[in-house]
């Protein structure tokens, strides 16, 4: 890796660890709430991939933008969207970050420049390219990050977007979170070229691979890539090898992968690895970890109470914001 080591201060590493623990506990709570019927529709969990979002969260600034997929709870949390607003959205309440209308797959937050979950595979890539085009044309030096799974590589939009970004030299950071399974189909059964980043090289886009289970490695790679995109204004492609410990969604008997493989990857649990390394380096102690678990549990409990107390959007507002209201004026 070319760029320098991340500045591993105690305060920094505690922050990264808390983010990962928050994501893990948030997702586990969602699984429970889904079984209890509080969360409906589809739910795609990020357990096991926390390092990517946590690393990304440290690598981009408030001015940068993030376009994600339907598996975007971790990204939203890492990006700073309040836990309360995300949980309320999962419940479908008005206080949710999308006013309850999007649900798990469609978290949006203008303030944190989170341009949504997108439920159509690869649907976000062209958007990211377009936002980067706008930045370039308006002379703004900032980064648009586009997260997607390796399944997107089979969609035409993936290839069209990479080509446009390369052709027009646009400031887009493509982050492919390759968790080896696109829904029910293993990567090797759907991609003639399983090394996704090699697609980027065909479009002359510099690419790197990173161990998605090592948050330090992820942060280094993404911090470097983001700086390069910001400076050169040209696209960069990072492929992160990672793994999801739970099924694709709540309704998936996981027939397509065997238990042994899951156990194997669980040994590389990004949270246990990072916490273990920090303790051995003396940067962090058990008391710190317990404190983090406690404060995360409190924050999630509060978020649930907030969501429970939330309001249903009145039916009368059903058609509001289909179009921009006239008084809001034209941007």
């Amino acid at each position: 890796m070319t760029a320098g080591k991340p500045h591993l201060s105690r305060q920094h590493v505690l922050g990264v660890l808390r983010t990962m623990v928050m994501i893990r506990r948030f997702e586990e709570t969602c699984a429970e709430l889904y079984s209890g019927g509080k969360i409906r529709g589809f739910l795609h969990l990020y357990v096991g991939e926390e390092a990517n979002a946590a690393g990304l969260g440290q690598s981009i600034g408030p001015d940068d933008a993030l376009v994600a997929t339907y598996r975007e709870h971790g990204h939203a949390l890492a990006r700073g969207v309040p836990t309360r607003k995300i949980m309320a959205e999962m419940f479908g309440k008005m206080e949710g970050c999308s006013r309850g209308r999007g649900g798990s797959m469609h978290l949006f937050d203008a303030e944190h420049r989170l341009y949504g979950g997108n439920a159509i595979v690869a649907g976000g890539l062209p958007l990211a390219v377009g936002m980067a085009l706008a930045d370039k044309m308006q002379g703004r030096k900032r980064v648009t990050v586009c997260c997607f799974g390796e399944g997107a590589a089979a969609e035409g939009e993936f290839h069209e977007s990479l080509n446009l970004a390369a052709l027009w030299k646009l400031p887009v950071l493509f982050l492919c979170e390759n968790n080896l399974y696109a829904m029910g189909t293993a990567l090797v059964r759907s991609e003639s070229e399983p090394d996704i980043h090699r697609h980027a090289e065909c479009y002359n886009i510099p690419a790197e691979v990173v161990d998605g289970m090592d948050v330090v490695a992820v942060e280094v790679a993404l911090r470097t890539a983001a700086e390069q995109v910001r400076e050169t204004g040209e696209p960069f492609f990072v492929e992160s090898h990672t793994y999801r410990f739970r099924a694709h969604s709540m309704f998936d008997p996981e027939l397509y992968r065997d238990k042994a493989e899951v156990e194997e990857w669980k040994k590389k649990d990004p949270i246990d690895r990072f916490a273990g390394w920090l303790k051995s380096a003396g940067l962090v102690h058990d008391a710190d970890v317990d404190a983090i678990e406690k404060s995360v549990a409190d924050e999630i409990a509060d978020a649930i109470d907030f969501a429970e107390a939330g309001q249903w959007e009145p039916v009368e507002d059903l058609t509001s914001d289909v179009y921009t209201p006239p008084e809001a004026g034209r941007a």
């Binding site: 589809f42 469609h106 439920a119 595979v121 035409g156």
Partner: protein, 327 residues
């Protein structure tokens, strides 16, 4: 006579087609190892092998186009696009190739292809996964569009569609897969040309299809309690529309109410309403009514999704107003 689910009926139909005709093969996302996102092809890959039960990458335009090519090449493909929401990526192949090649080639080629896709809202899957866009396909000359609502149609329509030399798009409403019904052990063949009168009536004709059929029947039951006898027509085929059955009924009841989960503007309901005023205008006692989805992206929360899409209560209220019982 056996009681089976709509899903089982679809599976039995595909199994029969795959067994009877070696040219038939199934292609789509997760149709193989996963057994189908709605479990309609469970056990197929073990029985027919991966060559004829093909899991595809997430490349809707690619594999739909490939299905069209295979049909041109003499196969009888069944392409499963998981839902109409994803079919938008394959629209170009369907409109500019499947629907057009025969005519554009001066009649040299026919494309015996069946495309199956789930459709409709009702599962709180929010806007991008809850579309009902059947009318986009019913607009295109060169393809046929069918919508099995009953267990008998779920079992029978595929065979008729596969026998058709031209492309047939088959819509299966997502909320119907779990529905149960009786089916004779040797189910009789089914046509894909006629609408069906599911309930006789004299005061109003309820014209509907697919996922709205159970809602219309329930509304008819409620209306009967207040003396309004509704005749319920299941369109079954969306292109071509069975004008004869529709007009015969409307000229009898003098009132028509169309229930269509699509958005109101430029909907199937709009087309049917236009045909009614063109063909049986002088038998109408009231303007043609329409119950459609509110013109919004379907929201996630249950109570908003319910408010946005046609429900038995809204159908009953609309009919009572049409008949002049309520203001």
């Amino acid at each position: 006579m056996a009681t089976i689910t709509y899903r089982d009926a679809i599976r039995a139909a595909m199994r029969e087609a795959l067994t009877n005709d070696p040219r038939v093969f199934l292609m789509g996302e997760d149709v193989g190892k996963y057994g189908g996102s709605y479990a309609c092809s469970k056990g197929f890959i073990e029985e027919f092998g991966p060559d004829r039960i093909r899991d595809t990458p997430l490349s809707e335009s690619g594999f739909t186009g490939a299905g069209i090519g295979a049909a041109l090449g003499g196969m009888r493909p069944i392409v499963e696009i998981m839902t109409v929401n994803f079919s938008l990526l394959a629209l170009d192949q369907i409109v500019n190739n499947a629907a057009t090649i025969r005519h554009m080639s001066g009649g040299q080629f026919s494309i015996p292809l069946v495309i199956r896709m789930a459709t409709g809202a009702g599962r709180q899957l929010a806007a991008q996964h809850s579309h009902s866009l059947e009318v986009w396909y019913a607009h295109i000359p060169g393809i046929r569009v069918v919508a099995p609502a009953t267990i008998a149609d779920a079992r029978g329509m595929l065979a008729a569609a596969l026998a058709d030399p031209d492309p047939v798009v088959m819509f299966e409403h997502a909320t119907l897969y779990g529905a149960e019904g009786d089916l004779p052990d040797k189910p009789p063949p089914v046509d894909i040309d006629r609408a069906a009168v599911l309930r006789e009536g004299t005061d109003v004709t309820l014209i509907t299809y697919s996922g709205s059929v159970p809602k219309a029947l329930e509304a008819a039951k409620t209306l009967a309690e207040s003396g309004i006898e509704a005749e319920v027509i299941d369109l079954r085929t969306l292109r071509p529309l069975d004008d004869e059955t529709i007009m015969a009924s409307v000229s009898k009841t003098h009132r028509a109410m169309i229930v269509d989960e699509g958005w109101r503007t430029c909907s199937l309901a709009a087309e049917i309403s236009a045909r009614i005023t063109e063909q049986v205008f002088y038998d109408l006692d009231a303007p043609v009514g329409r119950v459609c989805s509110a013109e919004v992206p379907i929201p996630y929360p249950r109570h908003l999704e319910m408010a946005a899409t046609p429900q038995p209560e809204t159908i009953v209220a609309a009919v009572r107003k049409l008949v002049g019982v309520d203001e």
